[in-house]
Symmetry: C2
Subunit: 256 residues, 2 copies
């Protein structure tokens, strides 16, 4: 089977992540959600194509939402759906889609499972403000739901709650052919020694993407070549070609 | 001194980060540079306003560079400046600025400090391809330099090398008034209980930004309120107001 004959014809399902949070931009909080979502999407056959982090400012959030939702199949947002004044994500989504937003009876019912009537104050009810037309995403940890409106999926910023929402919404999404990846550990072989051969392999295997990833530890580089593609045969052929290309090379005395 | 009288008049110095890397989007590599750069910029008085992660694709990189460099004082890129075929950042920066790119004699000289003449092959010389007009950023670890062209600062993706480049370029940058931040640990006090009072404090202290950040651990929420601003007096007054607002509140039996 040639690479051309085995090429993938299923349409790619793409995604972007929009992280909403001053706390990430200030450095106070180190984001963990991007990596979690990236892993998850990769595993189910959705291609993550872009990430943006924006501050808790309406114009920034709305502009990013509108730019991304035109381009990608799904947009995953994290952050800004709590009860405090700086939680403005739901309102921004409503504004981006030009729909109304109000307390959603389904969301209020979820909050009632957690809060006694006398504890369900106005601030907590803010978490039931959902743009018109959205589907809710259950939150098994603290009940306040995420939601999906059109292709925008709105999740919490707290990693454990985000994960639970992702687990809930994931199985309902359209997925494409999963991206396969195989790593070839080339150890201390310097990138500069195999770069030319690797470029040749990449040129000869256009249906896969080939990346070279150095890491630096203990005073020296350790390199990995990763072949990614959606067709198992094409990936296998490229991996074989990479292995052949590097097999004849021996490190020179330059550790890079 | 009123808040108005103490308002900051120095122009804000802003920044964006552009992470270039399929490996981040695929989930293979968990980014650490965003947090490092965010902390660094915050410490020297540069306001990080946006982050984007894009794949190793020319059109994506060039478009992001052009969108960001128009809006922010500085753009910091990470990744894509090695010797392999997937390292296309320098060429993309040249394209974004519409300038030529070629082997830069200063960069070649740096590589010669690391590589013997017979080891300095074409692939390694790729790391000396620098857009015309750029200033180099020294790399004490593996010599191949980063560079600064206009307001775009191009750094390595390997965290230790990125950090070294950041340490080199940082002191040369224009900086503004440093953002001050003070955290108030409100412990297990639920956000929903102090949200209304906090909104009042935020409204009364418009020169600072006030955020509420929950974390979830051991089955319960722990919350922190963070006051950020550039004027020490204004921050102190808002912190005092936050403490007063939460001091009279006692947790109800809802751990959120």
């Amino acid at each position: 089977m040639t690479e051309a004959a085995s090429s993938i014809t299923a349409p790619a399902i793409t995604a972007a992540i929009l992280v909403i949070g001053d706390e990430i931009l200030s450095g106070r909080t180190k984001d963990k959600n991007i990596g979690t979502i990236a892993d998850y999407l990769n595993a189910i056959g959705i291609d993550l194509k872009q990430v943006r982090v924006v501050p808790d400012e309406e114009v920034e959030i709305v502009d990013a939402l509108n730019a991304l939702r035109e381009r990608f199949t799904y947009i995953f947002t994290t952050g800004g759906i709590g009860p405090t004044h700086d939680d403005i994500t739901a309102d921004c989504v409503a504004k981006a889609f030009n729909v109304s937003i109000d307390h959603d009876p389904r969301a209020v019912a979820m909050l009632r499972e957690r809060y006694k009537p006398e504890d369900l104050n106005e601030a907590r009810l803010r978490m039931a403000r959902i743009p018109a037309g959205a589907d809710l995403i259950e939150n098994p940890i603290s009940r306040a739901p995420g939601f999906k409106l059109g292709n925008v999926i709105v999740m919490a910023g707290v990693p454990s709650i985000m994960q639970a929402m992702l687990d809930n919404i994931g199985p309902t999404l359209n997925t494409g052919t999963r991206m396969l990846a195989e790593s070839i550990d080339v150890g201390g072989l310097p990138e500069g020694l195999y770069a030319e051969a690797l470029a040749g392999v990449a040129k000869g295997h256009p249906s896969v993407s080939i990346g070279s990833y150095p890491s630096f530890r203990d005073g020296g580089f350790r390199n990995q070549v990763v072949v990614r593609g959606k067709d198992a045969d094409a990936v296998a052929m490229a991996v074989k070609a990479v292995r052949e290309a590097v097999s004849g090379l021996t490190p020179d005395d330059v550790p890079a």
